[in-house]
C-alpha cells in the first residue's frame, strides 16, 4: 500500500508535466484544428531557456520560469504567424506536415546552437524531502504539483471568465460568426498560441528540475505522450487535457513500479490504441450534434 501511494505521488508529478504540455495541444487543436507537432519542442526550448538563464545569468527558480514562459509564448506566436497562418485555409495535412517541419527546425537549431550533448540542470530548488506517514514527498514534487494546479486554475479562469477567453471559445466554435461579432480572429489565435506555449515553457523548466538533465531531442517523446493525453481526455477539451495528462503520468509510473520500465512507453501507446477503439472522441470529447 505504501508503495502504491508513493507511486501515485510520483505519477502525479510526472502527470502534471504531461498535463501542462497537453493543454497547449488541446487549445491549439480546439481553435484551428491543427495538431501542433512542434509543441513538444517548445517545451524543450522552455527547458533550455531556464537552463541558460539560471546557469549563465544566475536567475533563481521563479524568474527563470517567467523567462521560459515569456520566450516560449512569444516563440509560439511567431511560429504561428510564419508557419501556420498562411496555411489556415489549406488542407489539414499540409498544416500537419508543416508542424513536423517546424519541429525539426527547432530541434536541430537547438542542437546546432547548444550542442547535442545532455546538459545537467543546476539545482534550483531545495532537494529536501518530507516524510508523511508511509510516503516521501520531495520539495520538487510539491513545487511541480502546486505550480501545475495554480496554472490550471488560472487558465480555466482566463478561458471561462475573461473577454479574451470567450473570444477563444467563440472562434473555436465558428470563425466567421466570431468575425461578425467584431472579434479579431488572428489576435485570438495568437493569444491561444501564447497561452499554450507559455504553459509548455513551464513544463520545460519543471522537467529539467525533476530529471536534472536536458537535451535537444527531449521534447519528442513527452510531446507525443502529452498529445496522447490530450486525445485521451478528448482533444479540444481543456479539463480533458488535465485529466488525461495526470492519468498518463500515473499509468506510466505504475507500470514502471509494478511491471518493467521497458514498458513505460508501450503502456502509453496501448492507452492510445484502447481509447481510439473504445471512445475515439476521448473522455470529455464532445460528440457534435447540431440542431436545426
Amino acid at each position: 500500500m505504501s508503495q502504491f501511494l508513493q507511486q501515485m505521488i510520483n505519477g502525479l508529478s510526472l502527470g502534471s508535466i504531461y498535463a501542462l504540455i497537453a493543454l497547449g495541444y488541446t487549445m491549439v487543436y480546439g481553435i484551428i484544428k491543427l495538431i501542433n507537432f512542434a509543441h513538444g519542442d517548445i517545451y524543450m526550448l522552455g527547458a533550455y531557456v531556464a537552463f541558460i538563464t539560471t546557469t549563465y545569468f544566475g536567475f533563481s527558480f521563479f524568474p527563470a520560469m517567467i523567462a521560459s514562459m515569456v520566450v516560449c509564448g512569444i516563440l509560439g506566436v511567431i511560429i504561428e504567424r510564419i508557419a501556420y497562418k498562411p496555411l489556415r485555409h489549406a488542407t489539414r495535412i499540409a498544416a500537419l506536415i508543416t508542424a513536423i517541419g517546424v519541429s525539426y527546425v527547432l530541434e536541430y537549431t537547438t542542437q546546432y546552437v547548444m550542442g547535442s550533448e545532455v546538459k545537467t540542470y543546476p539545482t534550483l530548488l531545495s532537494s529536501a524531502t518530507f516524510t508523511l506517514g508511509p510516503v516521501t514527498v520531495s520539495m520538487q514534487q510539491i513545487y511541480i504539483f502546486a505550480i501545475t494546479i495554480f496554472l490550471m486554475i488560472a487558465l480555466q479562469l482566463i478561458i471561462k471568465k475573461t473577454k479574451m477567453g470567450r473570444a477563444m471559445r467563440a472562434v473555436s466554435v465558428d470563425e466567421d460568426a466570431a468575425k461578425l461579432m467584431g472579434i479579431n480572429v488572428d489576435t485570438t489565435i495568437s493569444f491561444t498560441f501564447l497561452l499554450g506555449s507559455s504553459l509548455a515553457g513551464v513544463a520545460g523548466i519543471l522537467v529539467g528540475i525533476y530529471y536534472n538533465s536536458i537535451d535537444p531531442l527531449m521534447g519528442m517523446v513527452p510531446g507525443l505522450k502529452a498529445f496522447i493525453a490530450a486525445v485521451f481526455g478528448g482533444i479540444g477539451s481543456v479539463p480533458g487535457a488535465m485529466i488525461g495528462g495526470l492519468f498518463i503520468g500515473i499509468a506510466e509510473t505504475m507500470v514502471v513500479a509494478y511491471g518493467s520500465s521497458l514498458y513505460r512507453d508501450a503502456i502509453v501507446y496501448l492507452i492510445l490504441i484502447l481509447i481510439l477503439i473504445i471512445k475515439p472522441d476521448g473522455l470529455l470529447g464532445k460528440n457534435q450534434r447540431e440542431k436545426v
Binding site: R166, A167, A177, A178, G182
Partner: protein, 236 residues
C-alpha cells in the same frame, strides 16, 4: 442620403461571378427586403457588406463612408451588424455569454447592462435560459438568441439572413413581428429571405434578385401585387 449604398458591386467565387453589378440602397428607418431563389446571391450580398467575403469591384458606402475595403471588425464598430444564415450561435457558450459576444467591441459597461435588459424584455425566453448552453435551445430560441446577440452591438443597420429558415409558421410570424418592433425602436433593417410573402409584407421597399442581379425593385406592396412576383415567388 441613403444610410447604405451599394454601387455596381461585383463578387466572384473563383471564376464564377456571384454578383454581377448590384445597386441597392437602404434609407435610415426602413425595412428593406431582398428576396430571390436559392443561389441568387442574397447571402453573398450580405457577406460582402459585412466584410466576410472579398469583393471584386464596385463600392459600398455606409453612413457616408466607404466600407468596401474595411474588415468585419471595423464594419461592426461603425454600427453595421449581421445575423447570419443558420443563426451561427456559439454552442458550448451560455446564452448570457453569447449575448456578451455581441457586445464584444463595446466598452461601456453600463450601456451593455442596459441593452442586456432590453434584449431580455424583447425575448423573455432568453432570460429564462440565461445560464443554459446555447446548443440546448430550440431552433426558434436560437434565432432569437442570434438576433439578441446582434442587437447587443447596438447596430444602426441590422442585416438579417434568412431568419425564418427551418422555423414553424407560428414562429416565423413571431420572428417577423419582432423584426418590425426592432425597426420601430429605431434600427434600420436589411432582410434577406426566401419566404417572399412574409418578407414583402413587412418591407417598406424590396429588391428581387435573380442569378446575381437585381431584376425588380419597388415598395413591398407593389412587389407583392406584381403578377410576375406572385407567379415566381408567392405560389400563384
Amino acid at each position: 442620403m441613403a444610410m447604405l449604398e451599394v454601387k455596381d458591386l461585383h463578387v466572384h467565387y473563383g471564376v464564377i461571378e456571384a454578383l454581377k453589378g448590384i445597386d441597392l440602397e437602404v434609407n435610415e428607418g426602413e425595412i428593406v427586403s431582398l428576396i430571390g431563389a436559392n443561389g441568387a446571391g442574397k447571402t453573398t450580398m450580405l457577406q460582402s457588406i459585412s466584410g466576410i467575403k472579398k469583393k471584386t469591384s464596385g463600392d459600398i458606402v455606409f453612413m457616408g463612408e466607404s466600407i468596401f475595403k474595411k474588415n468585419p471588425k471595423a464594419i461592426v464598430m461603425q454600427g453595421l451588424t449581421q445575423v447570419p444564415e443558420g443563426r451561427r450561435i456559439f454552442t458550448g457558450l451560455s446564452v448570457y455569454e453569447n449575448l456578451l459576444m455581441g457586445a464584444f467591441l463595446r466598452k461601456d459597461k453600463k450601456g451593455i447592462q442596459e441593452d442586456l435588459e432590453k434584449v431580455y424584455k424583447q425575448f423573455p425566453i432568453l432570460k429564462e435560459r440565461v445560464d443554459q448552453d446555447a446548443s440546448t435551445l430550440s431552433g426558434g430560441e436560437q434565432q432569437m438568441l442570434a438576433m439578441g446577440r446582434a442587437l447587443m452591438a447596438k447596430p444602426k443597420l441590422l442585416l438579417l439572413d434568412e431568419p425564418s429558415m427551418g422555423l414553424a409558421p407560428i414562429l416565423v410570424k413571431e420572428i417577423f413581428s419582432i423584426i418590425q418592433e426592432i425597426n420601430q425602436q429605431g434600427t434600420t433593417v436589411l432582410l434577406v429571405e426566401q419566404n417572399a410573402k412574409m418578407a414583402l409584407s413587412i418591407a417598406h421597399r424590396a429588391y428581387v434578385m435573380e442569378t446575381g442581379k437585381v431584376v425588380l425593385s419597388g415598395t413591398g406592396e407593389e412587389l407583392a401585387a406584381s403578377p410576375d412576383i406572385q407567379k415566381a415567388y408567392l405560389g400563384g
